[in-house]
């Protein structure tokens, strides 16, 4: 609507803000890599001992430690690791005798599809519930939705998952209780096997999103500009779409980003119950076997996913808010 000439400096400023955000996300990721490396080093025991078992002599352990580079100072090991990581090589697994990338590859695809499908379902569900209950504030519907979402926030996910398995796999025998993800599976088979994990995760993450969406939309509905729009004869539908949602976008997007970031690393219990071959269980295995390259790579992926989600939420919120834009 505005003249493009007048907008040019605005876009320039916007690009600068976005680049700044991206730069600060990258810096955060670098700091996180230090924390991850330090935390991994603090774990008791070491991989050489783990590989050779209890019966190994100290000499054997020392020799293997030297071979693995574990006798180098921490700073050197960190810098070597970081340099390799930047080159796209997170190293070789201590335990499985494979490249970490190979170990992670298939699992990452699984985790991403689980998270992606859950995100689509849960965001749509949460936004609908949040907006509907904000519009009908104080009504019976609002109270019912409030109680349901609050209970879901409170229920532990293993309980939800167990009840689902009992109901859909044992009693009704509709869906498999074990999510077998094989590369040869067709799309429909894959969706069928993922139905229960997706449903459980959706329950866990959408409740929180719905509650935060309700709060953000309700807060905007109380603003004088909403009353003004009603007094201009604007229909309710248009008030929500044109006036309320652009203003509620910032907090809602942040709530979504926070909830979704849980889907990658936090899906451990769901992965375990449904024997789903995802990243979270891989990372736990890495911790128990002191497989540092694998553990660090998984941790970096989770942190990067989290930062990326927050970054996207921030940038979209800036785009929606003219005050932040300028």
């Amino acid at each position: 609507m505005a003249a493009p000439a007048a907008n040019a400096p605005v876009w320039l400023g916007l690009t600068r803000v976005v680049l700044q955000r991206i730069a600060s996300a990258l810096l955060t990721l670098l700091l996180v890599s230090i924390v991850i490396f330090a935390a991994a080093s603090l774990l008791p025991g070491d991989a050489a001992q783990e590989v050779l078992g209890q019966s190994a002599t100290p000499e054997q352990v020392a020799a293997l430690r030297h071979e693995m580079g574990l006798d180098q100072p921490a700073v050197t090991r960190y810098l070597d690791w970081l340099a390799a990581l930047l080159g796209g090589d997170p190293g070789r697994s201590y335990i499985a005798d494979m490249q970490v990338t190979e170990l992670i590859g298939a699992r990452l695809v699984n985790s991403l599809s689980l998270a992606g499908i859950t995100a689509l379902v849960s965001v749509a569900l949460a936004l609908t519930i949040g907006i509907v209950s904000a519009i009908n504030r104080g009504s019976k519907l609002d109270r019912a939705l409030n109680i349901v979402t609050l209970s879901l926030v409170a229920l532990p996910e293993f309980l939800i998952a167990t009840v689902f398995v009992l109901l859909f796999s044992v009693k009704l025998v509709w869906l498999p209780s074990i999510a077998m993800v094989s590369p040869e599976a067709t799309w429909s088979e894959m969706l069928r096997s993922m139905a229960l994990p997706v449903a459980c995760l959706t329950f866990v993450v959408s409740a929180q999103m719905a509650r935060l969406t309700r709060a953000a939309v309700a807060d905007q509905l109380d603003r004088p500009y909403v009353e003004m729009a009603r007094l201009k004869g604007v229909t309710f539908r248009r008030i929500i779409l044109f006036h309320v949602l652009p203003n509620a976008a910032g907090p809602v997007l942040n709530a979504i980003a926070l909830s979704l970031s849980y889907l990658m690393g936090g899906a451990l219990i769901i992965e375990t119950i449904f024997s789903f071959p995802g990243l979270a269980s891989l990372m736990v295995n890495a911790v128990t076997s002191r497989d540092m390259p694998l553990l660090q790579a998984c941790a970096m992926i989770f942190c990067a996913a989290y930062l990326a989600l927050i970054l996207i939420a921030d940038i979209v919120a800036i785009l929606a808010n003219p005050r932040l834009r300028s």
Binding site: Y225, G233, N321, R323
Partner: protein
Amino acid sequence: MIGQTSPAVEVSGLNIALDLPDGSSRAIVDNVSFAIPKGEVLALIGESGSGKTTIALAMMGYSRFGATISADRIRIGDMQIDALGERALGKVRGSRVAYIAQSAAAAFNPSRTIISQVIEPLIVHGLASRKEAREKAIGLFSALALPSPETIGDRYVHQVSGGQLQRLMAAMALITDPELIILDEPTTALDVTTQVEVLKTFKQAIVASGATAIYVSHDLAVVAQVADQIVVLKDGRMVEQGKAGDLLRSPQSDYTHSLIAAARPVNRAAAPDEAEALLTVEAVHAGYGRVRDGRAAIPVISDVSLALGKGCSLGIIGESGSGKSTLARVIGGLLPASAGAIRLGGELLAPGLAGRSREQLRQIQLVFQNADTALNPMQTVRDAIARPLAFYHGIRGAAADARVAELLDVIQLQPSLAERRTSELSGGQKQRVNLARALAAEPRVLLCDEVTSALDTVVGAAILDLIDALRRQMGIATIFISHDISTVRAFCDEMLVLYSGRVVETCSKAAFSTPVHHPYTELLIDSVPALDPGWLAMLGERHAPAIADTPADEALCPFLARCPVAIAGTCDSQPPSLRETAGMRLLCHAVQPQLASEALNQ
């Protein structure tokens, strides 16, 4: 059929009731009736809680908090508003009846361009295409004297000033050529000087559109300028109704009398001249951001000096953004001065709170503008007042209770209120508690920052009377910060005028009544509406446009861009020099000759 003589708007037997949770209902508007001939302006006047806005909104079939509207008749033109359903009302709102809200800053959506909201009524009612609507809006922007009408609409709320926003909202109301325009305190949030401009444009716009209007206000003087008829309301009932001129000249009810009296504060006697200086502020600079060489990165006040005698009162006056409140914060130590000295009783005070002793803190107390936010809503009145007693005087327990009762008596509140939560009090009561809390410290200097601007006229006048009486009884020196020059004039021994953080004039009570003032002071005096329906018309074209930037060179007169008497070649090249005569100091090139001749005549 409606004849030629039939009024454009007719309301009879309007009742509005609030449904309470316990099933009963409470009347908030009780049996209100009025009629407005086509093209006339009816004013609904009253204090907060009088139901004036509720009545105005009922004209659109709208009520807040789910109140129930019932009436024998609400007719606008050929429409029977009380008989329309929600759907039909949606078609009327914003097309045939339009609303202008009190705060345009809040009534515009912050994340949409202004023009998209201004043309929204035309679009949603299907009255014009987007292109036609845009053209019409731009036409209205220039009719409402908005700067760069072609592009101003493409801005967002935070990029436009308050006075401009109010005009943009008027454009939003006028765009559908409504039959009835409802103006809800449209100038209350504005500075006096801006208010005059906005009032003038509104009046012209209403006349030009030929619409009938309802003007809601608490300010009789403002109403006098725009209204043909006035309805005075109190507690949801009509107290008095009549032609504007008649009602202001000869009010019938006691209540209207008290409203008029509160709008015209009575002049108080000045304090004795020989009072020794208690508080002095010497060449103080303050602002925000990094301080370098005694100047803040964003300076707010520059080179401010003042002296306040024991038991005297000083009024500080200026528009919003002039640095009035900042000056109070600097004196109180909340914002450390970047340069200059503040002395109390001859003793030099540290710039910041941390450097001042408890005894020094006790002697200067602030009373904030908004008692609503200054008081902790979870505290009882007793707790709020007892806290400074314990902090400054170590008074606790039964002694504190006794002192709280004494203080409540001083501020004229019932002792029984002590156990109430501060959130349960009315606005006036809260401000009294706020005052009692400051008095509990037994200060020597009381800084009152716009203490009545959030209050109704009558309630505010009572608070001012109270502060004035206390000052005289207890000898507390007071600084009144206000945007209202008539209040300052009535209550203060001396007046200080701030403009963009600089003192442009100080004058004594005696000198105030002389006709010689700084051009900015003149502008402020001229901008206060008089209780006279002819005032706005009489004001004529004397006003220069109120929107102007301060000059880039900070040595020059800050008022230069708005000054109607600036001397070309002098004011724009040399810093204004200080001129002093009996009871008056001002910074101006232009009025110096007049001052000199004035001094000669005496």
